[in-house]
């Protein structure tokens, strides 16, 4: 049987890379200050740089192909999803017979078959399933995701590696670069996140518009649109009829039930427009994907990765938006960092004795000239060390007050601690949440090595 996969032989190796090698082996006027053109640069970056692609969907397929064709040889891809028949129109690495298989695994295999010399390691799991250490091996993390939550997670992991020196300057070896792509119908963005230098995802998360949510009483009493009927079935009717049974949007039977209930309700109120695919769209918040938008955004992202790693041209500063809806429009905005961002900011440096207790530490915060924080509650990597209120939590954490901080942060030489309290801000006391870099005097790096081993 003749398969559509059969293609003419791939170009021979040097031929394939001719244009890229020209770009990487010749000097120019618009290059990065550290650009070091040489005929071997492509090989060097290919073998030294490890790049992680997060997501193997619409953007991920494009990204893997683009990165592989840009000279990157060590790629990893992570995606928890399996291939659905509705993906095939744009996720071009997948075929009908792949339906049900892991996106990451199939995408990795297909690109490796087509671009020789490229190694792609697939990870068929959730991003949260990986140890944090997993992410430390990559020089660049490229994001092809579709949710704020997943972006925020990867952003906090990547920024978590960032360390600052005593002058609050980022230490270059600890910087994990991120290139974030995103598309929604005809619109898309590509942005470069250099933790400590350009704004991180959390610095301007407020840019995202809120999701449209209908009032429950409108759904229950006065539905006016097909979407109202669908959300009624989804949010109200489901629990009424199936108490205790969680709704699963990926279960076709569940979706079918929602559809038929929504249809009944639409008939009752004389509303038209409820279809099965619209039901899926409303419940799963699906926005129709446009293959070309993915291609445009992915190309921009892959280019940024290439420029970042090689220095062959200046990188974008720092947020590119693409809009193909009314004509075509591309804009680049230079967003600013939030100085005391909880995720990427340096935090206030505080030196403590190993014997300083938590209550002494809270005292220190009151007098610290940069903080002047009273009534501080303290949290460290998810452990609530002390809570001023409510009473129930104060009681549960009170016993920590006499314990040395060094012990509470489990004997590490340096710890990131977050504190909440009333702090001075432009001469006024206001409730504040601050990040602190706590360093313990006299604790050697060596002791931390012992600790980790």
């Amino acid at each position: 049987m003749a398969s559509p996969d059969e293609e003419p032989a791939a170009p021979t190796e040097p031929e394939r890379w001719r244009d890229l090698d020209m770009l990487l082996s010749r000097p120019g006027n618009l290059v990065d200050a550290n650009f070091d053109p040489s005929p071997g640069l492509r090989d060097m970056m290919g073998s030294l740089a490890e790049v992680l692609v997060v997501g193997a969907g619409g953007l991920g397929c494009e990204l893997l192909k683009d990165l592989a064709l840009s000279g990157f040889k060590n790629l990893h891809v992570i995606d928890m999803d399996t291939i659905d028949v509705s993906n095939l129109n744009r996720q071009f690495l997948f075929r009908v017979q792949d339906v049900g298989k892991s996106k990451a695994e199939v995408a990795a295999k297909r690109v490796m078959e087509r671009v020789s010399g490229v190694s792609i390691v697939p990870h068929f799991c959730r991003i949260e399933d990986k140890e944090i250490e997993f992410y430390s091996q990559f020089s660049i993390i490229v994001l092809g995701l579709d949710s704020i939550e997943a972006r925020s997670y990867i952003n906090s992991v990547a920024c978590g590696f960032l360390e600052y020196d005593s002058d609050d300057k980022p230490i270059p070896e600890t910087v994990k670069h991120m290139v974030d792509g995103g598309t929604e119908g005809f619109k898309g963005h590509a942005r470069l996140i250099i933790p400590g230098t350009t704004p991180c995802f959390e610095c301007n998360i407020w840019l995202f518009p809120p999701q449209v949510k209908f009032p429950l009483c409108t759904l229950a009493e006065t539905p006016r649109t097909a979407a109202h009927c669908i959300e009624y079935a989804h949010l109200i009717k489901w629990n009424e009829v199936h108490p205790g049974k969680p709704f699963d949007a990926d279960d076709a039977e569940h979706m079918q039930w929602i559809y038929s209930e929504a249809l009944k309700r639409a008939e009752l109120f004389g509303i038209s427009g409820v279809t099965y695919s619209f039901t899926q769209g409303v419940v799963k918040n699906i926005i129709p994907a446009i293959a070309s938008t993915n291609a445009v955004v992915s190309a921009a992202c892959a280019l940024e990765a290439l420029k970042l790693i090689s220095g062959c041209s200046k990188t974008v500063s720092n947020y590119l938006t693409y809009n193909g809806l009314d004509g075509t429009h591309i804009n680049v905005s230079d967003f600013a960092r939030v100085k005391d961002c909880l995720v990427c900011g340096p935090g206030t440096l505080i030196e403590l004795d190993t014997l300083t207790t938590l209550s002494e530490f809270i005292k220190i915060l009151e007098e610290h000239p940069k903080l002047l924080m009273s009534r501080a509650s303290v949290t460290h990597e998810g452990d609530n060390l002390y809570m001023q209120s409510p009473e129930v939590l104060e009681q549960m954490t009170r016993s920590n007050l006499g314990v040395p901080m060094f012990e509470l942060v489990k004997g590490v030489a340096r710890a990131t601690v977050h504190v909440t309290g009333m702090a001075e801000n432009n001469g006024k006391k206001a409730s504040s949440l601050r990040k602190l870099r706590v360093v313990f005097k006299g604790v050697e790096e060596a002791s931390r090595m012992d600790e980790s081993s």
Binding site: S156, G382, N384, M396, L433, M449
Partner: protein, 182 residues
């Protein structure tokens, strides 16, 4: 340009990385929630508990005891499920106590604007608790989730008062049984 040789050197050092384990993640949402909780300024007689212990504040139980209005004397328990995307996304709030109320249905869904369409990241857990408290002080018949209760409240407030009392003491209203919640 990333210094590729540095990257190479870094790899070798990786095992000997003196900085030990990278920090465990604490999401920005958790941090913001920590602030919200530390600053809670609850209405009188309102209690909060944390079913998953002091280090997991993402699940909260709030019990309200209205001190005026139709619902005086009742205890109403709400569960707050705070999403990771908080405060970009609002907490999911349900009423665990079965209540005869125009704006709360029998499955515990609550019609309060700031929980859905009017949620903004500047709002917080405290605002929601005050909003819920207000629902018990001033139930309204304009945003009904329990249609029958809303109609009674609008047309016959005295009957509504009696129904609320019956439900809170444990009894049937319109063939629906309400367990005692006083």
């Amino acid at each position: 340009m990333l210094n590729l040789f540095k990257i190479k050197g870094q790899k070798k050092e990786e095992t000997a990385n003196t900085n030990g384990r990278p920090p465990k993640k604490q999401s920005p949402g958790e941090l913001r929630l920590h602030k919200d909780i530390a600053e809670l300024n609850l209405p009188k007689k309102t209690r909060v508990t944390f079913p998953n212990g002091k280090d997991n504040l993402m699940n909260i139980e709030v019990s309200l005891r209205p001190d005026e209005g139709y619902y005086v004397g009742g205890i109403f328990v709400f569960t707050f499920e705070v999403p990771h995307a908080y405060p970009h996304e609002p907490p999911k709030v349900k009423c665990k106590t079965k209540v005869y109320h125009p704006n709360i249905d029998l499955e515990g869904n609550v019609c309060l604007n700031i929980l859905r369409e009017d949620w903004k990241p500047v709002l917080n857990i405290n605002t929601i608790i005050y909003g819920l408290n207000l629902l018990f002080m001033q139930p309204n018949d304009e945003d009904p989730l329990n249609h029958d209760a809303a109609v009674v409240l609008r047309d016959d407030p005295q009957k509504f008062q009696r129904n609320v009392q019956t439900a809170m003491s444990g009894g049937y209203v319109d063939k629906v049984y309400f367990p005692r919640c006083k």
